[in-house]
């Protein structure tokens, strides 16, 4: 069996046990102004950031911005209206191939890189944040953390089945290093931060 052979050779060849480094997670050296840092990073990688005073003002902004789009789905229960239908679960992920706009709420936003954490239960279904043409992320100001270490501290031992950090719209620079937004997934990302 390859398994046992691999493990046997490995045990034979691996060096003496060295300990893990102490002081994990790392302390960040610089102090970040979270909202400003997050916004600057997000805009630097192609997202649009909207700062709003309260949750209630987000719905009309989204409705106005995407008034021309055909299929909009919201996985955020508090953000469903006459123009923004609620997400409905279908067993076949292919049925979301024609989604134009999908709306999600993230519980962690990382200021140092503008990555937003989403778990499967916040996605509706796994493929949705990738297959939609445009993506809207809603994040409360209190969800911002300075860096990846604090993000993982917050995630802790959470029992998600699938989770992902998303930083901006899908992108590629494979053709002569020219940055193009919308490689396979969303062409745009709008982030609403509310107090």
């Amino acid at each position: 069996m390859s398994r046992d052979k691999i493990l046997a050779v490995l045990r034979e060849n691996q060096p003496e046990l060295v300990p893990l480094p102490a002081a994990m997670p790392l302390a960040r050296v610089e102090i970040l102004e979270l909202q400003a840092k997050f916004k600057a990073m997000a805009e630097g990688i192609g997202s649009t950031v909207h700062l709003v005073d309260e949750f209630a003002s987000i719905e009309p902004l989204i409705a106005a911005r995407f008034s021309g789009e055909k299929r909009i789905v919201s996985t955020v229960k508090e953000l469903v209206s006459a123009v923004i239908p609620a997400f409905e679960l279908h067993p076949d992920p292919h049925s979301y191939a024609d989604v134009d706009v999908a709306i999600f709420k993230s519980s962690i936003g990382v200021a140092e890189n503008s990555a937003l954490w989403l778990t499967e239960d916040q996605m509706g279904t796994r493929v949705l944040p990738f297959i939609t043409q445009h993506m809207v992320m809603i994040v409360p100001l209190s969800a911002l953390v300075p860096d990846m270490h604090t993000a993982y501290q917050k995630i802790g031992e959470a029992g998600y089945d699938f989770g992902t950090f998303i930083a901006g719209p899908s992108k590629t620079a494979d053709i002569e290093q020219s940055l193009v937004l919308g490689a396979h997934g969303p062409r745009s990302m709008d982030i609403f931060i509310y107090a």
Binding site: M1, S2, R3, I6, L7, V9, L10, R11, E12, N13, Q14, E16, L17, V18, L20, P21, M24, P25, L26, R28, V29, E30, M41, G44, P91, H94, A97, N113, S114, A115, R126, V127, F130, I131, D147, M148, A151, Y152, Q153, I155, E157, Y160, D161, F162, G163, T164, F165, I166, A167, S170, T172, D174, I175, E176, Q177, S178, V180, A183, H184, G185
Partner: protein, 457 residues
């Protein structure tokens, strides 16, 4: 992969024929190197981060067998089917068998340098299966029937006009198109169609976590996710060295990976796969293919710490001016030149010599692998084991003789200066490998020894 027995100097000679392209390749990669610098310098604790990453990897390697067992146990409990492959052939067979079991003849792949190392595409195509690479750069080189020339930027050697020609031929784009936006849009349409019709998707693995049995895949395009979340069967393939002990360690590695690779603060998607989707089958293949042997080589063990960011290539003056294909191994550049001789000393004997030993690679490595020192050590092993070329052996003998005798050294120096001054054509010709793509230096009137004698009383 090239089946020719050509060496790095011979293959780089082909690349070097087009001087403008060499300059363009050099400048493009240096620009990415500069973006890396800017990004690294934006984090005050960057050096602490590198040190932590290095220490975590040292711990992971020193306890790899136990971490693998723990990872397997957790992954199985999560509902992932785990396989072990001793070598490339077994890996390819496992993937093939999974596809056969489901009667699937078409596979969509996300980037995995491991499957390049194992030549999976060729293997599956020989069995009559269709494989489509979905990373844009990989799709481009696949259409051109070439291997990737860079582990992060697979088609960095291609001009947009050449890509336009390929897309005209294969994807029906109008002749003469070279706009990256239009070309990317054409690929988007073609690949979305592929994702929506494939029942099996294969992805690589960037990190696997012993503590939880989950694995992380990082992409900018979202192609790994599009493939995996639409397919009935998801196969993930990883080298056994990709294990890290705990989930929280991702905080260190995700901060380093993209910054070192392209200068981005993080990849667009860092996806954590812990359990298969409802109704989906998820397989994970753990591959050795020489890694356990490399673990036993104390001098080269640290090469297993590599997180495949490509920073060493972008900074390497030899890689930048000779192109990835001149390395004739799946992983080009400095790190590939350490990994390749582990698999086949004779076939890859030339690669550790494709370095100036300037140390730039070691300086940018996010996990602090002593890359240039390992290249230097491989040279010694290769010469000792008799794999050096006859020309290299002869010139080293002459060098040894000259440098160990002051009289011969002085005479040789004088003769050299005389030749360069009076009969330059004796060395400025194609028989002299140093003259290739290089001007010979202007000769000084006297040697340093002669000058010293005159000026220092």
């Amino acid at each position: 992969m090239s089946t020719t027995a050509k060496t790095h100097p011979e293959l780089s000679e082909v690349f070097n024929k087009d001087e403008q392209r060499v300059n363009w390749h050099d400048e493009t990669l240096w620009w990415i190197r500069q973006k890396r610098d800017k990004s690294a310098h934006s984090i005050p604790e960057w050096e602490v981060l590198r040190e932590k990453a290095s220490q975590i990897k040292n711990n992971a390697l020193s306890n790899l067998a136990e971490y693998l067992v723990s990872f397997e146990e957790k992954a199985l409990a999560n509902g992932i089917i785990v396989h072990w492959a001793a070598d490339a052939q077994e890996h390819n067979q496992i993937v093939h068998q999974i596809l056969q079991k489901h009667d699937i003849r078409q596979l969509v792949k996300s980037k995995s340098m491991l499957t390049e190392e194992c030549h999976l595409n060729e293997y599956l195509e020989k069995q009559g299966l269709e494989v489509i690479d979905s990373d844009l750069g990989e799709r481009i080189v696949q259409l051109a029937k070439e291997p990737p020339s860079h582990i992060v930027l697979p088609c960095i050697h291609k001009k947009k006009e050449e890509i336009g020609d390929l897309f005209h031929q294969h994807l029906g784009v109008a002749a003469g198109t070279s706009d990256p936006q239009i070309l990317t849009e054409a690929a988007r349409v073609h690949l979305r169609e592929t994702f929506l019709t494939r029942r099996a998707a294969l992805t690589g693995v960037n990190f696997a976590i012993a503590e939880t049995g989950e694995f992380v895949v990082c992409t900018n395009e979202g192609n790994a996710d599009m493939g995996a979340h639409l397919a009935d069967v998801h196969i993930a393939c990883m080298g056994i060295e990709k294990i890290i002990p705990k989930r929280k360690h991702l905080g260190v590695f995700l901060r380093l990976l993209a910054r070192s690779a392209t200068g981005q603060p993080i990849t667009t998607y860092s996806s954590h796969f812990k359990k298969p989707r409802a109704g989906q089958e998820m397989h994970l293949v753990l591959v050795d293919n020489g890694r356990t042997v490399q673990m036993g080589r104390e001098d080269f063990r640290a090469s297993l710490k590599c997180i495949r960011c490509g920073a060493c290539m972008n900074t390497c003056p030899v890689y930048r001016r000779s192109g990835g294909h001149s390395y004739h191994y799946a992983i080009s550049g400095p790190i590939g030149a350490i990994l390749a001789p582990n698999l086949d000393r004779e076939k890859y004997a030339d690669l550790p010599f494709a370095s100036t030993l300037c140390g730039s690679c070691s300086n940018v490595c996010p996990v602090k692998i002593d890359i240039h020192q390992q290249l230097y050590k491989w040279r010694q092993v290769i010469v000792q084991e008799g794999y050096a070329t006859s020309g290299k052996k002869m010139s080293m003998k002459i060098m040894n003789y000259t440098l160990s005798s002051p009289g011969v050294y002085k005479t040789a120096g004088k003769a050299g200066r005389w030749v360069l001054k009076y009969i330059p054509f004796a060395v400025n010709n194609h028989f002299n490998p140093w003259y290739k793509q290089r001007e010979m230096p202007e000769v000084p009137k006297e040697s340093f020894g002669e000058w010293y004698k005159k000026n220092v009383k």
